[in-house]
């Protein structure tokens, strides 16, 4: 493929014999290929190195965190035990997993329903209303941030005594769909063949049955992408965690990590315990890396299609 795109052959500048010319082209190509792969490998190394650095630093004693050795001089896995005891990380992991699961499942179902409503049915102003859906994607979150907080606290969903210890606002907004996923799922639904649904309708299937029994299974790949993307986003969320999760027993892992940075990092006063910060950072990141390797193909294919109709 690159053979056809990279080299240029001026047609009338040949002093060389045909065979020599071919050989020179081939040489040039292999050199280019080699250079290309060298660059790719170098970039891969740059992208992977911080992970390796982080994991390796998490096994080092305090004084060696910055020594930049890949294999720790002194192996100190106790860091994990120390940080586990210094902060309720088990609790935070549980909260994060719960919130992430609820956020991903609810946004997938609700966005699927809405996307289907905008694809299968024809109604007045459908495309105009869908235009509004798309426009909300551009809306900066800060404009709605404060009133949303007031709504959640107004209906008694904020604070330690609220339902789910006040964790509801972290995910319950997803029950109402999300513009990005509605758009993505609609793109997928549009590609499904219409006759399948016609046939089902003639057989007497209702709207709900057609969605649930036919469209939903057919669109499973798109739903998995939605689940994975939202799991990623929900796990990472910090700003909302800072606003809504007021008691440390309700924190998510990223919220907890932010407090560990404040407590054990340079700003905490006294000597910085970077080895604990690093260890907590590994604990925060690891679940997502595992998630990525489970859904690797869906992630990579999914992200590629997001720009497809941009």
């Amino acid at each position: 493929m690159s053979a056809t795109t990279t080299h240029d052959t001026p047609p009338a500048s040949t002093k060389l014999s045909r065979r020599a010319k071919l050989r020179s082209i081939r040489q040039r190509l292999t050199w280019r290929q080699a250079f290309n792969y060298l660059m790719l490998l170098a970039c891969s190394a740059i992208f992977i190195y911080p992970f390796i650095w982080l994991v390796s630093a998490s096994f080092k004693p305090r004084g060696q965190v910055f020594d930049n050795r890949l294999i720790p001089d002194t192996f100190q896995p106790e860091n994990y035990l120390t940080v586990w005891q210094a902060a309720p990380i088990g609790r935070w992991l549980f909260n994060s997993i719960l919130i992430t699961a609820l956020a991903a499942i609810s946004v997938t179902i609700s966005s699927g329903l809405v996307a289907w409503g905008f694809t299968y049915f024809q109604f007045k102003w459908r495309d105009r209303i869908f235009g509004i859906v798309l426009a909300t994607m551009m809306l900066p979150g800060v404009v709605t941030m404060i009133p949303q907080f007031l709504i959640w606290s107004g209906i008694g969903m904020v604070g330690h005594r609220a339902p789910m210890s006040g964790m509801m606002p972290m995910w319950a907004g997803n029950l109402f769909g999300s513009a990005f996923y509605i758009f993505m799922l609609r793109q997928f639904f549009r590609r499904l063949p219409r006759d399948t649904f016609e046939a089902a309708r003639i057989d007497g299937a209702g709207n709900w049955r057609i969605f649930w029994k036919i469209a939903f299974p057919l669109a499973r790949p798109a739903f998995i992408v939605t689940l994975l993307f939202e799991a990623n986003a929900a796990w990472n969320e910090l700003q909302r965690a800072l606003i809504y999760l007021q008691d440390s027993s309700t924190w998510t892992v990223p919220r907890g990590l932010a407090s560990i940075v404040a407590r054990f990092g340079a700003g905490g006063g006294g000597e910085a315990n970077w080895e604990l910060v690093v260890t907590a950072a590994v604990i925060t990141t690891l679940p997502l890396i595992i998630l990525f390797f489970i859904g690797q193909k869906q992630f990579v294919d999914g992200i590629a299609t997001t720009g497809a109709k941009g």
């Binding site: 690159s2 056809t4 080299h7 290309n36 790719l40 970039c43 992208f47 992977i48 911080p50 992970f51 982080l54 910055f66 329903l113 809405v114 905008f118 299968y120 049915f121 024809q122 459908r126 551009m138 900066p140 979150g141 404009v143 709605t144 404060i146 009133p147 007031l150 907004g173 109402f176 769909g177 639904f189 549009r190 063949p193 219409r194 006759d195 016609e198 309708r201 709207n207 910090l238 700003q239 990223p254 990590l257 932010a258 940075v261 404040a262 990092g265 340079a266 700003g267 905490g268 950072a281 925060t284 990141t285 997502l288 690797q296 990579v300 992200i303 299609t305 997001t306 720009g307 941009g310």
Partner: protein, 324 residues
């Protein structure tokens, strides 16, 4: 009809003669379909009204009041906007944010495009490379903030040790208010993998015949890139350009984690005090929610203007490429 995708009214086939009873039946079917459609989109409709429209109206109202989340909002007119003009932190945080966006958006686009081109030319091991490029995008921004503090540490950080190998005395990235933004930009380049994959998909969609004919016309590699590749992937370039700009103008988590999570003053770095961080602290640390709402509306208007300009420019550019 049999090959058409899901558009149009379900259950209605064109061309069939309609008897009066059938017409009545069809009307009710139509109405039933409308009700069903509304039921399907009702979650979004409800969420849109309650969590978008109402908050926008209310946030504008709040911006005209003093509100501390305890006492009822007190109407003060445009006072908050006036105070914003006098607050030296507003221009400073805006400037911090713009400097970050102006550096990070084009730079990450260029790096993402270069990576996509490298990936596009490769024939073996593409799966491996795509994985390694994308993996950093999975890292929580909080952890990216931690990595920034460690890798860019002025004395012992990896970046300055590498620079030291070339005899360069690296700046104090995490402390110096001038260097903290370039540092955060460099750190943000680590997560360009997602953008790269979007552009890679666009590159793959460029028809190969176009390169063939360009080569017949005597176009070199660079010329082919400029005249064939770039115009054809311009829709995706503008898409990520707009999305990344909106994201960069609201950047929050990395810098917040690194410099503002603790509240200890020595720890803060005013050079990394971005507009969203200042707004968040105003609203949820100082509980000046009226003032913060005014700040939010100013950012909203700025983002709308910038996005509008980008749309206008992008429309002309994309059309231009399709025309020539």
């Amino acid at each position: 009809m049999s090959v058409s995708t899901i558009e149009g009214v379900p259950g209605v086939s064109p061309g069939t003669p309609v008897s009066p009873e059938k017409r009545r039946l069809r009307l009710t079917t139509k109405r039933r379909n409308l009700i069903a459609a509304m039921l399907f989109i009702s979650p979004w409709l409800f969420g849109f009204l309650v969590f978008t429209v109402w908050p926008m109206i209310y946030s504008f109202y709040l911006s005209l009041t003093n509100f501390d989340n305890i006492n009822a909002p007190r109407f003060v007119g445009l006072e908050n906007y006036q105070r914003m003009m006098e607050d030296p932190r507003i221009p400073r945080t805006l400037s911090n944010t713009f400097q970050f966006a102006i550096m990070s958006v084009p730079l990450s686009l260029i790096v993402a495009l270069l990576l996509a081109l490298l990936l596009h030319k490769a024939t073996m091991g593409t799966g491996f490379f795509r994985t390694t490029f994308f993996l950093p995008r999975m890292t929580p921004p909080v952890a990216v903030g931690v990595l920034f503090l460690l890798l860019f540490n002025g004395h012992q950080g990896l970046i300055n040790q590498l620079l030291g190998l070339f005899g360069v005395n690296g700046p104090n990235w995490t402390v110096d208010p001038f260097w903290v933004r370039p540092g955060l930009v460099l750190m943000s380049l680590w997560t360009v993998g997602g953008t790269s994959l979007i552009l890679l998909a666009a590159l793959k969609d460029v028809p190969k015949e176009l390169y063939e004919s360009a080569r017949v016309d005597g176009a070199g590699a660079l010329r082919q890139f400029w005249s064939v590749t770039l115009p054809l992937i311009s829709p995706q370039i503008f898409f990520v350009f707009i999305v990344n700009t909106i994201g960069a103008l609201q950047t929050f988590s990395e810098a917040y984690t690194a410099f503002f999570g603790g509240g200890a003053d020595a720890f803060r770095n005013e050079g990394a005090l971005f507009y969203s961080i200042h707004l968040f602290e105003m609203a949820f640390r100082n509980f000046r929610m009226g003032y913060a709402s005014a700040m939010a509306w100013v950012l909203f208007v700025i983002i709308m203007i910038i996005t509008g300009i980008q749309w206008a420019v992008s429309k002309r550019m994309v059309f231009y490429s399709g025309d020539s």
